[in-house]
């Protein structure tokens, strides 16, 4: 029993990690040795790929910075708008809230890639193209349904006596939110923030169509551009180095916030 479990765990780890480890391996291989990846080769190991990626123009960390910037502004904006909305969703009549939730669930399920063309037109008309901060506008809107759903289920779980007591003490709506309710839903807020950040960090079709200037590309688009450069002569060594560098921040994020991510997704599943 224990032994078969160990076997399954090993299989699971292998399945999750093997493709990534292959990228790590490739990233340290010299270009000539990539022609014979599984057989012996002299002068296989090199840091050249990393040097190449980090000294390219623009250097690779630029994309990480861009993605981080978009991720942070989108996450901040989403929370700023979603928290009050989630709170008021608990206060409206029950049938209204149920209708709103169904609507939000539908929006959260919607394959948003189908929206890209109209959003591109919007960006052209409002002059939002090639502007990193402007990207957080569609990202905030696209994250809104899930964020409101997650946060309102957190507000609903708070005992209503708590807010009642605060009201009796003479605290206004803003004070109640600021000093009583928002601190209490901090775990749900953290989960929501991580999910929104991950979405903005990874989003591809909108970033692809809104941003064309090389300095402003976000990580997913920058990496896809390498793929688009040529079908037959992709610099796989350098590319693998880029993958590894691009995956590292997320690896740290997942390890640090594993608990929040799990509870965010599972809470959403139970109550959404």
């Amino acid at each position: 029993m224990i032994r078969t479990r160990k076997l399954w765990i090993t299989a699971l780890l292998l399945w999750s990690l093997a493709p990534l480890l292959w990228q790590v391996y490739t990233s340290f291989c010299s270009n000539e040795s990539l022609l014979h990846t599984l057989t012996d080769h002299q002068s296989r190991w090199t840091l050249e790929n990393y040097r190449q990626v980090l000294t390219a123009n623009p250097p690779f960390w630029r994309y990480l910075l861009n993605s981080a910037l978009v991720g942070i502004t989108s996450t901040g904006l989403t929370l700023l708008i979603a928290i009050p909305a989630a709170y008021s969703l608990v206060k409206v009549p029950r049938n209204v809230a149920r209708g709103a939730k169904l609507f939000l669930l539908g929006a959260a399920l919607f394959p948003y890639v189908l929206l890209f063309l109209a959003l591109l037109e919007l960006a052209r008309n409002l002059n939002l193209g090639n502007n990193l901060l402007a990207l957080s506008f569609p990202y905030t809107a696209l994250s809104m349904p899930l964020a409101v759903l997650l946060l309102s289920s957190a507000f609903r779980d708070l005992p209503s006596e708590l807010e009642e007591a605060a009201r009796v003490e003479g605290l206004g709506l803003w004070q109640r939110l600021r000093w009583v309710l928002i601190p209490l839903i901090a775990p749900a807020t953290a989960s929501t923030a991580i999910l929104v950040f991950l979405f903005s960090w990874n989003e591809y079709p909108i970033a692809l169509t809104w941003i064309s200037s090389a300095d402003l590309l976000t990580l997913p688009v920058a990496i896809a551009r390498i793929a688009g450069s040529s079908v037959y002569s992709i610099p796989y060594g350098a590319y693998a180095a880029a993958t590894v560098l691009g995956a590292l921040p997320l690896l740290l994020l997942v390890i640090i916030f594993q608990r929040q991510i799990v509870s965010g997704l599972t809470q959403g599943a139970i109550k959404g």
């Binding site: 292959w22 990539l34 409206v92 063309l117 591809y204 896809a224 796989y236 390890i255 594993q258 599943a269």
Partner: protein, 288 residues
């Protein structure tokens, strides 16, 4: 008064979800392309007529549906196994859970390019292994019959953790007493799985199915980067076709028509699979 707090969120959602849908409906009954100088001219349903006779659209629909059904079924099965494993108590579970999540957290485009290297002919590891075992070259990414399977692998690898977490949440809502009672009545683990776990997990399986079906049907990032829709359009998805219509052929009117068409197909497929599940549930009740 409090309802006013809903306003910014509602406005944002209406702006980003609502306006595009209205705009697409309007665009889909207009000719708006390079030919018309990017000016919209009403064309009395010509876009829709073209859509119905567009072999590429229907081929892409079939391919997208095939991709979605095969990957989502595999994901549900694998995710169920993973969730059952992660639901048990054992040392190091937290670390394994974090590692399992990693594929889901990475940008799709990053590993899409990674897969392209892994399936590369002749230098990728799969082909190199084939050489070691003296198999003929597989040409995974250039054989129109099997390339779509490679995209399925990429999708399953990335999104199974997400489904597994939803199912894990479901498993954790099942009280232990139920299993104890079941074993007291003389049930064995296999029966417990089919009589207790699966029925109580059903809502979560449905949620995962619906969520993933919608996402897989709109697959774009993975296909665009991994195969570009090729070889010979054999992996082209509906979203990619809509994208190509707008960005390569600069035919915005038709692109919008393709998008509404895809959306309607998706709604139809979701309703259809829901009905099938509902029906089989009835049938099972009849046979009991």
């Amino acid at each position: 008064m409090i309802q006013l707090l809903l306003l910014p969120a509602a406005l944002l959602i209406a702006l980003v979800f609502g306006i595009p849908l209205i705009r697409y409906c309007w665009l889909s009954v207009h000719a708006n392309s390079v030919v018309t100088g990017l000016v919209a001219i009403p064309n009395h349903g010509a876009n829709w007529l073209r859509l119905f006779n567009d072999e590429r659209f229907w081929q892409d629909s079939a391919q997208t549906a095939r991709f979605a059904f095969v990957s989502v079924s595999l994901e549900l099965l694998l995710a169920l196994a993973i969730a059952l494993l992660l639901d048990q108590r054992w040392r190091g579970r937290g670390v394994v859970r974090a590692i399992t999540l990693l594929p889901w957290a990475l940008p799709t485009t990053v590993m899409a390019l990674g897969w392209r290297w892994i399936f590369n002919t002749p230098y990728g590891p799969i082909e190199q292994l084939a050489v070691l075992f003296r198999l003929p070259p597989l040409n995974i990414l250039s054989n129109p019959d099997i390339t779509w399977l490679a995209t399925v692998v990429g999708d399953v690898w990335k999104t199974t953790p997400f489904v597994a977490l939803i199912l894990l949440a479901g498993l954790q809502t099942i009280p232990n007493d139920l299993y104890e009672a079941f074993y007291l009545e003389g049930g064995n683990p296999r029966a417990a799985f089919f009589k207790v776990t699966l029925p109580l997990l059903q809502p979560y399986l449905l949620l995962g199915l619906l969520f993933r079906l919608a996402q897989a049907f709109g697959v774009f990032d993975l296909i665009q980067v991994m195969t570009g829709g090729g070889p010979a359009s054999s992996t082209e998805s509906l979203a990619l076709y809509a994208y190509l219509n707008a960005m390569r052929f600069l035919d915005f009117g038709y692109s919008a028509t393709v998008m509404i068409g895809s959306f309607l197909l998706l709604v139809f497929i979701c309703l259809f699979s829901w009905l099938v599940i509902y029906q089989t549930r009835h049938l099972r009740g009849v046979f009991k």
